[in-house]
């Protein structure tokens, strides 16, 4: 049974009713995806501890639907890459990323994931995770404050809502 990819779906022409239904489906899915974003609990170093206090009750992410329920990559649809990614950890991170089901988003937390940060001269740190992952939102700071995590989550939700993410344009 040939798997329907999202290209065939978008090429589906049809009368007025079908396009109306497609718009409704688009709107509904984007609204759903933008309101509930389950990040994967992936924390390596100091930004991980700040992610813990982000998940805690002061800046409560559950208000915006960002729930740390997804322990296995199968349930997660976003990954807060928080903490320094060394070369030994890089391919484990990639294995994790590939296990996540499609529309998946990446948020690079902290200076270490943006450009290697404090360890730009080090021999064992991957200088910036956009070398191996498509990153959607960057959070500066070393370590960033929990409020910055929440702002990044809301920014990502807004990007999803306005369909600004290239690789999932019109993805149903």
């Amino acid at each position: 049974m040939k798997e329907i990819t999202f290209e065939d779906f978008s090429k589906l022409e049809g009368g007025f009713l079908l396009t109306k239904a497609k718009e409704l489906a688009h709107w509904l899915i984007k609204k759903g995806r933008s309101k509930s974003l389950w990040p994967l609990t992936f924390a390596t170093s100091c930004c991980g501890i700040e992610m813990m206090s982000f998940g805690a009750s002061k800046t409560d992410p559950d208000r915006a639907g960002i729930l740390f329920i997804a322990d296995s990559p199968r349930y997660a649809d976003a990954i807060f890459v928080s903490g320094t990614i060394t070369k030994k950890m890089a391919n484990r991170l990639l294995v994790l990323y590939n296990q996540m089901p499609n529309p998946k988003y990446v948020i690079a937390v902290g200076a270490c994931t943006i450009s290697g940060g404090l360890y730009h001269h080090s021999y064992s740190v991957l200088l910036g995770i956009d070398k191996i992952l498509p990153v959607d939102v960057y959070i500066h700071g070393c370590p960033p404050r929990p409020e910055q995590f929440l702002e990044a989550g809301l920014k990502l939700q807004e990007l999803i809502k306005n369909d600004k993410i290239e690789r999932y344009k019109g993805y149903i």
Partner: protein, 324 residues
Amino acid sequence: MSIFDIIYKYILSNGFGYLSLPISIILTLIIALIITALVPLFVSGWIERKVAARIQSRRGPIFAGKFGLLQNLFDAIKMLGKEIIRNENADKLFLLPSILYGTVVLLLFLIVPLGNKNLAILNVSDNLLLTFILFSYLGLIAILGGIFSGNKFASISAYREGVKTFAFEGIVLLSIFMIGYRSSFSFQNINSVNIIYYPLIAISFLIGIISMIDRGPLDVTNAEQELIGGWRIEYSGLVYGLPLLGDYSLAFIASMIFSILFLGGAGSGILSFIIFWIKTFIIFFILILLRWLYPRPRIDQLINFSWKYIFPLTILNAIIIWMI
């Protein structure tokens, strides 16, 4: 007098003649599906998330909908749009366990009287036994799920699930027989407050049901921290949505059943309707507290706790009642 009878009588009287049976079946099925979809998302799911948030001194979902009411709905919609990944050494019937899980929840909603005597969707004769069978299906489905998704953690959780069924199935069955012996085997005509006669059995029934639906402090098989998700570890998208839907609704169904069996049955009329829902929400609140205030015992502690303490208690209580 269940909802199905009401619809059937109404359609029959409007002169559809031989067509009325299939129409009313379809209508009741639609109503059942609506209830199975709405209750976990809006009623029990929302209450649990908000009360759990309050326990942990935070606010719970707010941005989606009026008081975060639509949050679970958006979660469900998001799950519709997710890709379903199949592990290459997973079995062909990889999707079967989660679909079975959804049907069990649907069947349970069909049987349990929602409010009072004649508000159950289907009026099955001995529906107390049927609910026990459906509850014990959950354990078997979890074992199937663990085996079919070819993942090491899932197989460990399937092994734990198999071991766990020894612990509590017998006890729950015994307490159901005690209720049946005392009043009756169908929800409709249990009307005595049985908790006075069976205080210990009520406690062991509650603990047994909690461990059978894998919830609260006894969620030994899908322990997020240890086994990352137990038998559901390989499921993504909607296939994971059904077990999650089950999580939210099974506790609510269990509290409904508990309030029928032990706190006076489901009478007819408006007053008993209100009392029934008050009782159910109290029990549901206790279940939420149990889940969020107690850590998880180990699997072997769970089993010898059940055989050493709960089993003698039920037998003691049964003998006392039998003698009086």
